[in-house]
Each structure stands twice: as C-alpha cells, then as structure tokens.
Symmetry: C2
Subunit: 201 residues, 2 copies
C-alpha cells in the first residue's frame, strides 16, 4: 500500500500493539487523524508520560506513579492477606471483581527449570521478607495451572512450611457459564478433585 | 478501577478509538508501557506528525503530505478515469485491489435533503471543473447504495447529461463467498436486476 509517509509510520506503530492487524491499524491511524489538534497532542503526551512516570511499587511490584502503589498505601486493605501473582496485569483483573480486599505480590515470572529460571530470578526473597514481618499471614497463590505455575507454588509452599503462614491457591473448576460437554479433560478432572460438599456452599 | 493516573489517561485515549472498548484499551495501554523508550517516543511523535503534516490533495481530496497526492501525481495513472467516492478512506480499499489504475475524486459527503446537505456542500464543483478539462472521461460512481448515495449519483448523472462523459456505477450483487440463503432481500433483488449474460463473462 502506498500510504502517505506520516500515515504509514502511525499505522506501523499501531501494528506493534497486540491483537492489532494491518486492517485495524489502518482504521486506528485514520481515527487518530480525526482527533482534534488538542486530543492528538494529549494522546501523544500520555504515551510519553505513562512510559516516563510509571515504575514498580517497592513493596508489591505493582505499577505505580509513586514509590508505593495505591493498593499498598490504602489503609482499608488487609496487609495480612497477600495474593501472589506472576504479572502485575493480573491485579487489574482481581481489582475488577471488587471483592478482594487484601494486597498483592508480583513475582515477575515463574520458576522454570526448562528455561533456567530459578527462585532467585523472581521476586521470592522480597515475598519472604514481607511475610516474616506479618503475624499469621495468609498467602493466596494465584499462579497459572502449568508446570511452571505448579513448580513455583510448590517451592513457596516448601520454604514456608514451618512458618506460621496459611497458604491457599485459587480453586480449579468449571468456569461459570461453561457447558460441561465442551470442557477439556483436565479441567473436568480438577473440578471433580476439588469438588465441594453442598453444605460448604 | 483504580489505575495509576498516567495509565488511566493512556487508557482513556485508546478508548476514544473506534472498536476499542475498556478491556482492549487497558491491554493496548499496558502493551505501550512495554515499548522501549525509543519506540514510545517515536509512536508519540508519529501521532503529532500525522496530525500536523497530512492535508488533502488539491486535485482529488485524498490524504497527502504534499500539495498533490501520490495518485494524482503518478504518471502511470489514467487521469481520464475518475472514481467518485464519499470519503478518502475508500481509496485505501480500492488501492488494495491493485487493479484500478485511474484516479479518484473525494466528495467529502453525500447529498442529503433530510440533513440539508446540498450539491454545493460537497466537492461537486471541483469534480465538474476536472471533468471539463478532460477528453471523453469516464466517471465511476462508487457511492453507497442508500438514499443519499442514490441522490448524489442521480444528481451527478443529471448535470453531466449533455456532456461527453461516460458514467458508470459499481455493480450491486452477491458478495464473493456469500451464501445465497443468508443474503438480504434487497441485495438478492439487485443481483437479479443486474444479472449478467454468461457470454458477457
């Protein structure tokens, strides 16, 4: 395609974004041209500022524009409950549920012998030092159900074995709204394994 | 959602783009944070430059970064064939076919008595003055099959009636790959009306 140079550049940058193909990038670039002068200016600045001002929380590793993130600095959050996640992006998903009132800890990766990633390569030491300062804390391990997720879960469980820490993991099971007939075998197996007595409901 | 301020701004701008909902805007904003410093800088500049440098071709109304667009200034294009369109965006679609070697004329709107848009509100005068300078030109009216599209087609046909201009319109019919059973009535009716003898093929 023979686009004007400045349009082509913009299309190329949109195409670097996830899930944006050639056709969508063209549509987004044209829509950007239809922004007002001021909007285009603000959008352009927003990219630079987000990149420049956002760092990681020194406690939990979440995205923040100050030293400590808005969750760790919120007095209403229960600091004794820590949800351990691989990536800060999961925090947005948990926060959208609106029901979790604990805090988070971002590991920034998972243990993977295959890729030579050990416990020292991810934020486990900082998790331990957080846990040690707490009285009877609860850790919720919210790691994905893969070999790496399981290895990391097992490692954390082991090093905290003799400390006074309650450790749980997210339940596995049938997603709400799913058809049982179309579920994969492993999910169904886990849903059976993790079955709950109706009285516990 | 309690996003860091700079992330929220970026999400808000992505959400102004067509087809980008809240969830996608979050995904795109986070992906932008994962750009390198240089990439983010270039992306930001691309927005400003596209907005600043792109104008309309003084001949056809297409997007261009110089006075005359790359199509009107291309000696290989047949200046005697003009494809008349509502909006410059259609040019990208036609160009992707790779088969049209004529030029374009962007009306920048359609005649609409309902919305009080008359022939003088769209680029028809400039079309006429282009046509008058040509010898035996062909106009291909590629306007959408709505009341406004038809009104504009009829108007252009009428004012050029006694001039030596061949006027055609795009064919209506069954889109390639469509199931006849699922076609709407009007398309099917048009496909019947516009039927072609197999020998013309």
């Amino acid at each position: 395609m023979n686009y004007p140079v400045d349009l082509e550049k913009l299309i190329n940058y949109y195409q670097k974004l996830p899930g944006i193909g050639e056709k969508s990038a063209e549509r987004l670039a044209i829509a950007t041209l239809e922004f007002s002068e001021e909007e285009a200016d603000e959008f352009s600045k927003a990219i630079i500022n987000a990149k420049k001002n956002l760092t990681r929380c020194s406690i939990c590793g979440h995205l923040t524009d100050s030293e400590i993130c808005n969750i760790c600095s919120d007095d209403a959050r229960n600091k004794n409950i820590i949800c351990v996640i691989e990536d800060y992006k999961s925090i947005f998903s948990f926060e959208k549920t609106g029901t979790f009132m604990g805090t988070y800890h971002v590991l920034n990766g998972l243990i993977s012998p295959m890729e030579d990633i050990g416990p020292e390569d991810i934020n486990i030491a900082s998790l331990l030092s957080r846990v040690e300062k707490l009285d009877n804390p609860e850790l919720i391990l919210a790691l994905k159900p893969t070999v790496e997720g399981e290895a990391t879960t097992m490692y954390i469980k082991k090093i905290l074995e003799n400390k006074n820490v309650t450790i749980s993991r997210l339940s596995y099971g049938i997603p709400i709204g799913a058809e049982i007939d179309y579920l994969d075998n492993v999910t169904l197996e886990k849903a059976l394994e993790d079955r709950k007595k109706i009285s516990e409901y």
